[in-house]
């Protein structure tokens, strides 16, 4: 299919380890978002990429979190020295027009991260 894909679908790691999550947006989508959903909570914005502009990192919860995107393609979200409170489903979304959250965001299935 041509939807947003994420890998891995599930990741179990030990506290203190680094993890890297991957997102493949829909081809041609200029905007890419990362969200996370912790148990019992809503989706929480993490970071936004729009084309070659500087990313909006205002949602990243700590400096252990970082993300990169190469052009308008793949993005990786890295969490260093994972903590148990990082356990969540991490969702990636892409949008065809970008520049505004008014435009429909297409979500991937998410990566469920469990930190033991």
């Amino acid at each position: 299919g041509a939807g947003v894909s994420q890998s891995p679908s599930n990741k179990v790691t030990e506290k203190g380890k680094d993890v890297e999550l991957r997102c493949d947006p829909i081809s041609g989508h200029t905007a890419l978002y990362w969200y996370r959903q912790r148990l019992g909570q809503g989706l929480e914005f993490l970071i936004y990429f729009q084309g070659n502009s500087a990313p909006d990192k205002s949602g990243l919860p700590s400096d252990r979190f970082s993300a990169e995107r190469t052009g308008e393609s793949v993005s990786t979200l890295t969490i260093q020295r994972t903590q148990q409170e990082d356990s969540a489903v991490y969702l990636c979304a892409s949008s065809p027009l970008g520049g505004s959250p008014y435009n429909e965001q297409f979500f991937g299935p998410g990566t469920r991260l469990t930190v033991l």
Partner: protein
Amino acid sequence: DQQVKQNSPSLSVQEGRISILNCDYTNSMFDYFLWYKKYPAEGPTFLISISSIKDKNEDGRFTVFLNKSAKHLSLHIVPSQPGDSAVYFCAATETGANNLFFGTGTRLTVIP
């Protein structure tokens, strides 16, 4: 602080009846509201939206109502079908923002 709130974590409705999902928000700057639907093991999918210049938007069986003075919106599904069983997220944003603010979701179960 949760700016978008869905106070009912779950709702059960008989097939054919109306489902009403509610959402409240605190940020008066929000001017665009969306509903997303999520099935297990899938990402949320866009369902319907409404701009703050309107108080109602209808799309087939789905209607969203916005009450700006009460900072409240609701999603009506009529008639409800078993395939509507999913988690529904309310989301909001404001001009100039880069992201959506989501509620915690309401799990709808439509009983055949």
